[in-house]
């Protein structure tokens, strides 16, 4: 984590430092929630819906979400589309390249459980939660832009309620 993240551990030790931790905690997580930069990553039909959500009608930018092409600067990866067995290790490598406070939205049926290709397909990963840890699942094939936006808002709530202590064991 960045330097700032280590500050609360020291401030807890000094008497009355707990207030500093809680204030810092809320500020840091509010900031993280309010500016989620998502990675430009889309494989199949959900990628077209992701583009439509980024376009003028349902605008991601209103929530402060801006696309970044390199995983280093992205802190949210929206897995949009079917992940096949050949793409699985690539997805894992992309996730590892991202900077630490990173979140994952599994968009569409294929990323939750394999979607329409659950039966009879020898090449599709049945859901991505065994490849990367997933924070928000958005069902739908492809989900409507409104449900994608709602998923992002749920993710923002989840980030705001985070505790600094649960960075401890990660």
């Amino acid at each position: 984590m960045g330097l700032i993240k280590k500050l609360p551990y020291y401030s807890e030790k000094i008497p009355g430092g707990a207030i500093v931790t809680t204030v810092l905690e809320t500020v840091l997580h509010q900031a993280q929630a309010k500016s989620l930069w998502y990675l430009l990553f889309g494989t199949a039909c959900c990628a077209i819906e992701l583009m439509c959500t980024g376009a003028s009608r349902f605008d991601f930018d209103r929530l402060g979400m801006f696309y970044r092409a390199t995983p280093r600067q992205a802190d949210l990866i929206i897995v949009a589309g079917t992940i096949t067995k050949k793409m699985g290790p690539r997805l894992r490598r992309l996730y590892d390249q991202m900077a630490e406070p990173r979140y994952v939205i599994a968009m569409g049926g294929c990323t939750i459980s394999g979607g329409p290709f659950y039966y009879d397909s020898y090449a599709v990963e049945k859901g991505i939660d065994h490849i990367i840890p997933v924070d928000i699942y958005i069902p739908g094939c492809p989900p409507r832009p409104e449900s994608l936006l709602e998923g992002c808002i749920h993710l923002q709530e989840k980030i705001k309620k985070q505790k600094l202590s649960d960075w401890q064991e990660k």
Binding site: L39, L40, F41, G42, T43, A44, C45, A47, I48, E49, M51, C52, A55, S56, R57, A69, P71, G81, T82, T84, K86, M87, R90, L94, P116, F117, Y119, D120, S121, Y122, A123, V124, C141, P142, R144
Partner: protein, 367 residues
Amino acid sequence: MVELPTEEFVVNMGPQHPATHGVARLILTLDGEKIVKIEPVIGYLHRAIEKVCENRTYAQCIPIIDRFEYVTAMSCNYAFSLAAEKLAGIEVPERAEYLRVIMLELNRIASHLLFYGVTAMDIGAVTPFLYGLRERELIVDLFEMTCGQRLTYSYNRIGGVSRDIPKEFIPQTHEAIKIIGAKLSDYEGLLNENPIWLARTRGIGVLPKETAIAYGVSGPVLRASGVQYDIRRNDPYSIYDRFDFDIPVRYHGDCYDRYLLRLDEIRQSIRIITQALDGLPGGEIRAKVSPNFKPPPGEVYSRIENSRGEMGIYLVSDGTKKPLRVKARGSSYNHFEVLPQFGTNLLVADIVAIFATLDIIVPEIDR
């Protein structure tokens, strides 16, 4: 003068890259900025659609074939139901034929608008991407009104269409077409005479006529190389022979012509839709087909012209209620195969421009 030894290095325009729409991958061997060798790699979106369809009844195959090419999903399930109808010799009612043509042409316009946006963004102008998608929303509303889905419609059934159009469909379609026809002049004003756009696309990636035909390239890319071949005219299916529209063709075969040709095609599609809307007859929308539909044994390769090129479904039936073999042929498969033939003194920026104007999308390649 000592010659500095320079070595080439291999760059991976890998599965996750802004310019490869989806997960196509290009292994480029670069000498500085010049591309020495292009090696396309596919398979990152191979969902085994053909294996899935072999274990589905004919009616269940339609939503699967929808995901085969999701940008023009209407043409996918139309090709499949056309193949099944040819197998079983089903007679499709008039109104269903008209509705199918209207939906196909609307989907072609939507796909060309997406092409316009993505090509402009790949060559650097981000704003046309948003304009293209804004117009596309008009058409997506029409689809949502009739079949409830924004992208993968599953609108066709074997023997006709699934739902009739609501009564406010026709006025809203006229409205949408009028807006899109007007906005086309904005698009052309923004890019057509832009000296930077001309410098980036004119004369880049010239595809000669012989290579195009030899590599099975079809659709707007073939017509931009000077071959006037459109399945709607040359191998007519459905009721396209009743409408008068012309097939735009251009002769330079470079990125600029491929870009211009698609804007012309939008105008032609608008002509078809207006004629189809005026001549829309009454009557029921689906032929009587029994739920467990078993076509007689036989095989057929039915092909239609979708926005990217020739889309064909090769269907083999052995008399049971599940198809023995479904082979879906997409045009991006040949377009991606022809990429290394574009000559080698290209720069990285050129390969991005060519890739965008070939309008390649990955599900057609990997199936």
